[in-house]
C-alpha cells in the first residue's frame, strides 16, 4: 500500500509548477517535501489531496488510481498551514465533521462518533477543550485540532501543508516531536510539506527536495545532508559556506591555498562547499585559505565568527574550544575545512 507518483506535471497558465515529478512513499512512511517557495511542493500536495488536477502523469495508492477519485472520495487527511478550522463549531464538532457528513448507511452512530472524538482528543492531548471554539485556542492547539479532524476519517494518507509555518519557534519544535510520535502511533503514511530544512531533516524518514517544479534529490535525511546532489541542495540544507576555486591536475586552488582533490573532482572553475561548523582555524603559517577576522559573537552554545576571505564575507559557527586565542577581530587566520565538496561552477 504505497503511494506512487509517476511523472506528474502541472502548469498554471504558462508557468510550470511541476515538471515530470516521480516519487514513492512507502506504507507508513513519513516523507517530507522540501523546497523553497515556488518549488511546486504545495502544488504536489494539493494534487495528492485532489484539490488540484495534474496536467499529466499518474498517482496511485496501493495500486488504486487516486486521480480517478474526487477529493471527497479519496479519504486523505489534509492539514493546512492556517488550520482551516470551522469557526462556528466547537472543537468536538470540528473533529466529528468528517464522520458526520458520511452518508447515513456508513455513518457511525452518535455514541460511536462521540467515542472516536474522545479518543482523538486524548491523542492530541486536548481532552478538556472539546466544548471550546477555535477562536478560544492558541495556534498550537488549533493545529492539533486540525490534525485530529484529519485523523478522524481514518485517512489512508495524511497530508500536511507547512503545518507549523504560522507558529513560533518553541511551539514548532514541541509540535514537531509530538507529530512524529502521533505518526508512529497511528502508522499512517504521511507527506509533509515544508520550506524549513531543519524541520524536514529532523522529522522525516525520507526527504524529497524540489526546485523549480522538479525533484532534485530524494533520500534519508542523513544521506541527503552528507551527500547533497548539487550546489543548490548543499546551500539550501543550511549552514553552508561557499568558496570559489579552481581545479587543475588534481589540485584545488582557493586563493593562495593548494590542496589535492579526489580523482572524480570536476575540473576548471568550481564551487567548493563546507559546513559552517566543519573547519579548523590555524595561524597564518598553517594550513588553509587566508581570512581576516571581522567580528565575533556568542550564539547559543557556539561562537559565531565573521570573516572575510577572497573579498567575500563568510560565517563560521564553532564550539568555544575550537576558537584559538589569536582569532580575534582585526587578526588574520587560515581556515582549513575538514571536508570540502566540489561542484562545477554554474
Amino acid at each position: 500500500m504505497s503511494l506512487i507518483v509517476n511523472s506528474v506535471s502541472k502548469a498554471f497558465g504558462r508557468y510550470p509548477a511541476l515538471a515530470d515529478v516521480s516519487l514513492e512513499a512507502r506504507q507508513g512512511e513519513f516523507l517530507a517535501l522540501l523546497g523553497p517557495s515556488g518549488s511546486g511542493k504545495t502544488t504536489l500536495l494539493r494534487i495528492l489531496a485532489g484539490l488540484e488536477a495534474p496536467d499529466g502523469g499518474a498517482v496511485t495508492f496501493g495500486g488504486e488510481d487516486l486521480l480517478a477519485l474526487s477529493a471527497r472520495e479519496r479519504r486523505v487527511g489534509m492539514v493546512f498551514q492556517h488550520y482551516a478550522l470551522f469557526r462556528h463549531m466547537t472543537v468536538a464538532r470540528n473533529i466529528a465533521f468528517g464522520l458526520s457528513v458520511r452518508p447515513r448507511a456508513t455513518r457511525p452512530s452518535k455514541a460511536e462518533i462521540g467515542r472516536r472524538v474522545g479518543d482523538l482528543l486524548r491523542l492530541v492531548q486536548l481532552e478538556d477543550l472539546e466544548t471550546r471554539y477555535p477562536s478560544q485556542l492558541s495556534g498550537g492547539q488549533r493545529q492539533r485540532v486540525a490534525l485530529a479532524r484529519a485523523l478522524a476519517i481514518e485517512p489512508r494518507m495524511l497530508l500536511l501543508d507547512e503545518p507549523f509555518g504560522a507558529l513560533d519557534a518553541k511551539v514548532r519544535r514541541d509540535l514537531r516531536r509530538w507529530l512524529r510520535r502521533v505518526h508512529d502511533e497511528t502508522g499512517v503514511t504521511t507527506v509533509f510539506v515544508t520550506h524549513d530544512q531543519e524541520e524536514a531533516l529532523d522529522l522525516a524518514d525520507r526527504v524529497a527536495i524540489l526546485k523549480d517544479g522538479r525533484l532534485v534529490q530524494i533520500g534519508e535525511p542523513q544521506a541527503v545532508y552528507n551527500a547533497p546532489a548539487d550546489a543548490f541542495i548543499y546551500d539550501f540544507l543550511g549552514g553552508a559556506v561557499r568558496l570559489r576555486g579552481h581545479v587543475a591536475a588534481g589540485v584545488l586552488a582557493i586563493g593562495d591555498w593548494r590542496t589535492p582533490t579526489p580523482d572524480d573532482a570536476p575540473q576548471g572553475g568550481v564551487d567548493a562547499f563546507f559546513r559552517q561548523d566543519q573547519a579548523v582555524i590555524n595561524g597564518v603559517e598553517g594550513e588553509g585559505f587566508l581570512a581576516a577576522v571581522k567580528g565575533m559573537a556568542q550564539r547559543g552554545p557556539a561562537i559565531r565568527l565573521d570573516l572575510e576571505a577572497l573579498g567575500e564575507p563568510l560565517e563560521l559557527l564553532l564550539a568555544a574550544g575550537e576558537v584559538p586565542d589569536f582569532a580575534r577581530p582585526g587578526g588574520t587566520v587560515r581556515i582549513a575545512p575538514r571536508q570540502l565538496r566540489l561542484f562545477a561552477a554554474a
Binding site: 484539490l51 471527497r72 489534509m78 493546512f80 482551516a84 470551522f86 465533521f97 476519517i153
Partner: protein, 283 residues
C-alpha cells in the same frame, strides 16, 4: 503603586480612545437632535387622545389591516431578499464572468433611484396591461394593486441591503476551510449548508434586518403599485399620511408610535440573534 504611576496609567488609558469626551458629546448631541427628540415627540403626541383613544386608534380594523400588510409584506420581502441577495452576492463574489462589474454596480441602483420613480416603473411593468402584469394576469395572478404588488416593490427596495451585507463577508470566507470540508468527505451541498452558510449567517441576518426596516417604512415605491384599497392593499405609512391630511395629528402619531414599537422589537430580536451567532464563532 505611586501617584505618578497612577497618573501615567490613567494617561495611557485615555490614549486608547483619544478625545473621548468630545466625541461622546458630539455623538449624544447628534443623536438627540436627529433621532431622540423627534422620537420623543412621536412618543408624547398620541396621548392627547388618552389611553383609551390610542387603544381605539390602534385596534381600528383598518389600522390593524394596514399593520398586518406593512409588517407581513416587509417580512416576506426581507425573506425573499435573503434568498435573492445571497444568490446575487454569491454570483458576484464566486464567479468571474463578463459584465460582473456592471452587475455589481447595478445592485446599488434601487438605492439611488427616487423611490417614486421605482414605484411608477414597477407599476408600469406589473399593471394588468404591463408586459409582466399581462403575462401573470393570464395565469390568474394579480400583482399590481394587490398585496403581492406591495411585496414586489419592497423586495426591489430591500435587495441591495442583503447583497452589500453578505458580499464582503462572503469574500472573506477562507477557501481553505471549504477545501478542508471537501477532503473530509463533505458533498457540495454539505459544504455550503454546514460550512459556508453558518459563516455568513450573521451577515445575512444583518442584511435582512436592514431590508426589513427599510421595507416597513417604505412609502414612495409602494403607493403606486399597491392600489391602496383600504383593508386590502393599504400600507401603514399611507394611513399616517391620510390621517395627517384629515388633520388627525394625534391619530397619525399613534399609528407611527405603534409602528415604532413593533419595528424596534423586531430589530432588537434580529440584533440579539446576530450578536449571539457572531459571538459563538469569534469567542
Amino acid at each position: 503603586m505611586t501617584l505618578a504611576n497612577v497618573r501615567a496609567g490613567r494617561r495611557r488609558q485615555a490614549g486608547v480612545l483619544p478625545g473621548f469626551r468630545l466625541s461622546m458629546a458630539i455623538t449624544l448631541t447628534w443623536l438627540s437632535v436627529i433621532v431622540l427628540i423627534p422620537l420623543a415627540a412621536l412618543a408624547i403626541r398620541p396621548w392627547e387622545l388618552g389611553l383609551d383613544g390610542v387603544w381605539r386608534t390602534l385596534t381600528d380594523e383598518r389600522v390593524v389591516a394596514a399593520f398586518r400588510l406593512s409588517f407581513g409584506a416587509a417580512a416576506v420581502a426581507a425573506a425573499a431578499d435573503a434568498v435573492l441577495g445571497l444568490i446575487v452576492a454569491w454570483a458576484i463574489v464566486r464567479y468571474r464572468f463578463p459584465g460582473r462589474r456592471l452587475l455589481d454596480a447595478l445592485v446599488d441602483l434601487p438605492f439611488a433611484l427616487p423611490t417614486a420613480v421605482a414605484g411608477i416603473a414597477l407599476t408600469a411593468i406589473y399593471a394588468p396591461d404591463g408586459p409582466l402584469g399581462a403575462l401573470l394576469a393570464h395565469v390568474g395572478v394579480k400583482t399590481a394593486y394587490s398585496p403581492l404588488g406591495v411585496v414586489i416593490a419592497l423586495t426591489f427596495i430591500g435587495l441591495p441591503f442583503v447583497v452589500r451585507a453578505v458580499q464582503p463577508v462572503l469574500e472573506e470566507v477562507d477557501r481553505e476551510v471549504e477545501e478542508a470540508a471537501r477532503t473530509l468527505g463533505a458533498s457540495d451541498y454539505q459544504r455550503i449548508v454546514r460550512v459556508v452558510l453558518p459563516a455568513i449567517l450573521p451577515a445575512i441576518l444583518a442584511g435582512v434586518g436592514l431590508a426589513f426596516a427599510r421595507a416597513v417604512g417604505e412609502y414612495g415605491s409602494v403607493i403606486f403599485i399597491a392600489g391602496n384599497l383600504p383593508m386590502v392593499s393599504e400600507i401603514a405609512p399611507l394611513l399616517i399620511v391620510i390621517k395627517l391630511e384629515q388633520y388627525n395629528y394625534a391619530g397619525a402619531a399613534a399609528v407611527g408610535l405603534g409602528m415604532l414599537v413593533i419595528s424596534f422589537a423586531i430589530l432588537l430580536v434580529l440584533n440579539l440573534l446576530q450578536t449571539w451567532l457572531t459571538r459563538r464563532s469569534r469567542g
